[in-house]
């Protein structure tokens, strides 16, 4: 029941009704535009949504598998459909149109009269007409419901295949891979992504995808889906080659416009499907419009969200009496598939007259770039006309702007795709060269001028710009460009972009690290006196302590260093919520002898410690008071154990699987390598904690791709991955180098780790650091493999010094009475802290909660009323 204002009542008679069939991304965009333009003053907007969920982000669908919820994918602003003049019918679709009566009929029997009708019915996945394509275990990849069904079924499968190696097919393959399946991609054409890339790009893409463990089969026509006795998918048969056993099949062989509704209503339909529309997005019935993937303009279906939004904008304008036109759209795309950059823009295949292509291919780094140049002008210069980028698409935005004519093409455009030779930087073509009219966000029609205006009006972060201009809120592909424009504008306006450590130092961590390293400063007070102000704080003190430790490796409790450490580092243990500490001895590679296990058990029993296995293949002992710590460690050290640095921003563990020593599938001795790596890097202080892992085969049981550095055995050696992590924002590591021998593994990891230690921000994990590193993994390769900065010898020497000077911090404490002195609860008494109280749960101690303490009044001591 809606309440109407009297003004609305007065105009009741004049109100008109617009029906929108379909609430996908494009259908919803149309509603948003109409609402924004005030259409609801005159129009009732009624939309039918076949799915039980209203519009959601289908472009970001795959993130559903990496933890994004259906709610987070929603594109519908809270309360949107509660607005006056808006109605949505969920789980209901328009099934017929009575054009003579001007009415639609829905599946649930609703009849709605319309003054205008917009078809936004989208598309459906094409499933090739082959035998067995409907067996249980066959899926398509289109809706959240599809993804939920895939996830459920995949739980019982080992292997899966995707039919179709296009854009969506590779998305689907990545999803299967992330679900833990051995994944195959079967493509009928002779290369992957045949619509967007050429043979050269396709082969680079293929190698990169194969490196991720996905099997690629191109030039293969699937003829039948094989079933087991129960009728479930068991394999695939091809026109050529052997059968492929798989547990499930996802069809992603292209889309087809959903035009049945229009067909039945007698509207004009294209020869190969699609509702024919003119440049007003009108169908053959002037009261009916069609937008998005169901619409056919000039013989083409536009299967991207950005042209869909453009059509929505045109249709909305026409409905409101405007004159906007749709005359085709730029099908340029840039995307990240399985972490691989792929971009295709303009005349990518150089079909235009007089066009020439320049290609660059680096088979080592696995990068392919093709630049298409238009015909020469009077002066002999050629403008960028299109291109293909695989593996490194950093120049995409620049090239795209040149291609659109928003930015002049430089004299030697080929320099844009060739890597900068050492010594000379990439030609400086900054965002400053972009014209104000240049389109930045094509999803939401935002040009550079709009963004500059937002910055001038005071927006000083990307979030604010997104909110004000809507740029970057569609596919998100332009966010880096938006960021660059913002920085450039701020720089021009004289705004200094600060990245300082804290109020005491006007330097970033990296700058301060360089100062400390170059000036050979060895104490915090020297750094503070020479380069800072005030007394320091809990941010800069541990940060500087970490730098000093990375560079010098003295004992962290010696001299002035002691005052800089966070409590965990100060007491060489992990503080828990009740003020007690936990203790984690090192268990290199997760390998532990029965005697060490017994020793750990005895210590835990003697000191009544709560015992738990950690995720890093170690054993954590909880509930130790400060004064107990040295006594605990005396016993552990006597049993041959050493500090595990769980308290430090330092190397934690190098996890391993059992490898070829025991495992039927292992191809290398992963445990031995993990132990050697852990012993090499133990105690290394870094901007944040560091974790590693080594897997003995591609099954990856040690989860090496979820670590800061991971090594995976291959038949030919070791693949090294860097920049992964679990935790709050899980990220897969990226392949740094493949098929290395042991020595090269150590060499590259030495360099990688020291480079990270030198250049990362405070509390910046390798993943974030790598994401922010200009040029990403490619640049990292150039630094640590090709040594373009000429610092590798230095990095290796730094690491050698670390390895040489390492000592167990706890052994150095228990062997030294003076250091032992620090480990007291009370400086003037040997009493234990009366406020540390334990209760027993599941046979072990745990800290008492407030209400469980014998005398809660104790807690009030010290607190002012």
């Amino acid at each position: 029941m809606r309440l109407l204002h009297w003004t609305d009542m007065a105009s009741q008679q004049d109100r008109r009704t617009l029906v929108v069939a379909g609430n996908g991304m494009v259908g919803h965009k149309l509603l948003e535009i109409l609402v924004e333009r005030g259409a609801t003053a005159e129009w009732d907007l009624v939309t039918f949504c076949e799915e039980r969920r209203p519009a959601y982000d289908r472009v970001g669908l795959s993130s559903f598998f990496s933890g994004t919820s259906a709610d987070e994918l929603s594109m519908v602003a809270e309360g949107f459909f509660d607005q006056l003049g808006l109605t949505v019918h969920l789980s209901d679709a328009v099934v017929s149109i009575d054009r003579a009566a001007g009415e639609v009929v829905s599946a649930q029997g609703r009849r709605v009269a319309y003054d205008a009708l917009v078809l936004a019915t989208g598309s459906y996945p094409f499933v090739p007409p082959i035998a067995g394509n409907d067996a249980p275990g066959c899926f398509v990849y289109r809706t959240i419901d599809d993804l939920e069904a895939i996830r459920e079924y995949a739980a019982g499968c080992q292997t899966g295949a995707v039919v179709g190696g296009g854009l969506l097919g590779l998305e689907a393959a990545n999803a299967l891979r992330n679900l833990g399946l051995t994944t195959h991609v079967v493509e009928f054409a002779d290369r992957l992504m045949p619509v967007q890339v050429d043979d050269g790009g396709g082969s680079v893409l293929r190698r990169r995808i194969e490196d991720l463990g996905v099997a690629v089969h191109t030039g293969m026509a699937t003829t039948e889906i094989l079933a087991d006795e129960a009728g479930h998918v068991a394999g695939m048969r091809f026109k050529e080659g052997d059968d492929l056993p798989v547990g499930m099949v996802v069809f992603s062989a292209g889309i087809r416009p959903r035009d049945q509704l229009a067909r039945d209503a007698g509207l004009a339909i294209g020869e190969r499907g699609g509702v024919v529309v003119d440049e007003a997005c009108r169908t053959s019935d002037p009261r009916i419009f069609a937008v998005g993937e169901c619409a056919l303009y000039a013989g083409r279906i536009f299967g991207l969200v950005s042209p869909g939004y453009q059509m929505a904008r045109v249709a909305a304008d026409r409905i409101l009496g405007g004159e906007a036109t749709f005359t085709g759209a730029d099908m340029s795309t840039k995307l990240k598939l399985m972490g691989i950059d792929v971009a295709s823009f303009g005349d990518a295949f150089a079909t235009g007259e007089g066009c020439e292509a320049i290609t660059y291919r680096d088979p080592v780094a696995n990068v392919y770039k093709r630049l298409v140049l238009g015909p020469p002008d009077r002066r002999g210069d050629r403008a960028v006309a299109g291109g293909i980028l695989v593996g490194d698409a950093t120049v995409y935005q620049t090239l795209l702007q040149m291609c659109r004519g928003d930015m002049p093409t430089p004299r030697h455009p080929e320099e844009l795709i060739f890597p900068a030779s050492s010594g000379s930087a990439t030609p400086a073509v900054g965002v400053g060269a972009l014209s104000p009219a240049a389109m930045v966000c094509s999803c939401n029609n935002v040009d550079k001028g709009t963004i500059c205006a937002a910055v001038a009006a005071g927006c000083d972060n990307v979030g604010a710009i997104k909110k004000i201009t809507k740029a970057g809120t569609g596919c998100g592909g332009c966010v880096p460009l938006v960021t660059d424009i913002m920085r450039d504008e701020q720089r021009k306006a004289g705004i200094v972009v600060l990245n300082t450590l804290c109020e005491h130092f006007a330097y970033s961590r990296q700058e301060l690290f360089d100062i400390v390293r170059v000036s050979r400063i060895t104490s915090f007070s020297e750094v503070l006196t020479a380069h800072g102000t005030g007394e320091g704080c809990e941010i800069c003190k541990p940060a500087v302590a970490s730098m000093l430790a990375s560079l010098a490796n003295g004992h962290i409790l010696d001299g002035e260093q002691a005052a800089l450490q966070d409590t965990n580092d100060h007491f060489l243990a992990n503080l828990q919520r009740d003020g007690t500490y936990s203790v984690v001895p090192r268990v290199p590679g997760g390998e532990i002898t029965p005697d060490q296990l017994i020793a750990l058990g005895e210590v835990a029993k003697e000191f009544s410690l709560y015992t738990k296995i950690t995720g890093g293949q170690r054993i954590d002992l909880f509930g130790a008071r400060v004064d107990q710590l040295p006594h605990i460690w005396r016993k552990l050290i006597d049993a041959g154990m050493e500090s595990g640095h769980a308290y430090g921003k330092a190397l934690r563990t190098v996890k391993s699987c059992v490898g070829q020593t025991w495992c039927r599938y292992g191809v290398q001795d992963s445990t031995a390598l993990a132990i050697d790596l852990e012993l090499r890097y133990r105690g290394l202080r870094a901007p944040h904690k560091l974790k590693g892992a080594v897997s003995g085969c591609t099954r990856e049981c040690a989860e090496a791709q979820g670590k800061d550095f991971g090594v995976i055995a291959t038949e030919r050696g070791w693949n090294v991955y860097v920049g992964g992590n679990g935790g709050m924002r899980p990220r897969h590591a990226e392949l740094l180098a493949a098929d290395l021998d042991r020595e090269a593994v150590f060499r590259y990891l030495d360099r990688f780790l020291m480079f990270y230690v030198r250049t990362a921000d405070r509390l910046e994990r390798t993943s974030v650091w790598l994401d922010k590193l200009d040029g990403g993994i490619e640049y990292l390769r150039r630094v640590v493999i090709d040594d373009v900065l000429g610092i590798c010898a230095e990095l290796e020497a730094d690491m050698a010094r670390h390895v040489e000077t390492y000592e167990c911090e706890w052994k150095a404490v228990v062997d030294n009475p003076e250091r032992m002195e620090r480990f007291r609860t009370f400086v003037n008494s040997d009493e234990p802290d009366p406020n540390v109280v334990f209760v027993t749960e599941r046979g072990q101690p745990r800290p008492a909660y407030f209400h469980e303490k014998p005398d809660p009044a104790l807690l009030a001591i010290g607190a002012k009323p």
Binding site: H504, P542, E821, V827, S829, N835, F850, L859, I861, G862
Partner: protein, 111 residues
């Protein structure tokens, strides 16, 4: 104040590391004692009102603007060493204690 103060010996000054704190028991209360430099010493309660644990003596000492403070090692709120007021939430504070150095010995006034 009619009652004269009782100064309780804590420890020799040279046992305190500049820039660090220790905890002392004074009349059954836990007192966090911090040495900034030289004979500049402050004492506040060891109780962290945000976590309910007695840990402030184990925090990192520093400054914010001109004020000396310690950051709780549990959730990192900062407390003014002179007034005991929490700098991140002025509604919370801890009590302060008088402290002095006499004859090379650190002493806290017993409440």
């Amino acid at each position: 104040m009619l009652v004269s103060k009782v100064w309780v010996d804590i420890c020799p000054l040279d046992k305190l590391i500049p820039g660090r704190g220790v905890c002392a028991l004074v009349g059954g209360l836990q007192v966090a004692v911090f040495r900034i430099a030289g004979e500049e010493i402050y004492a506040i309660s060891n109780f962290d009102p945000f976590s309910g644990a007695f840990v402030l003596s184990r925090g990192i000492v520093g400054s914010r603007a001109e004020r000396l403070k310690v950051a709780s090692p549990i959730y990192k709120q900062s407390f003014d060493l002179v007034t005991g007021v929490c700098l991140d939430d002025a509604t919370r504070s801890v009590r302060t204690f008088e402290v002095r150095v006499a004859g090379g010995m650190v002493q806290v006034a017993s409440p």
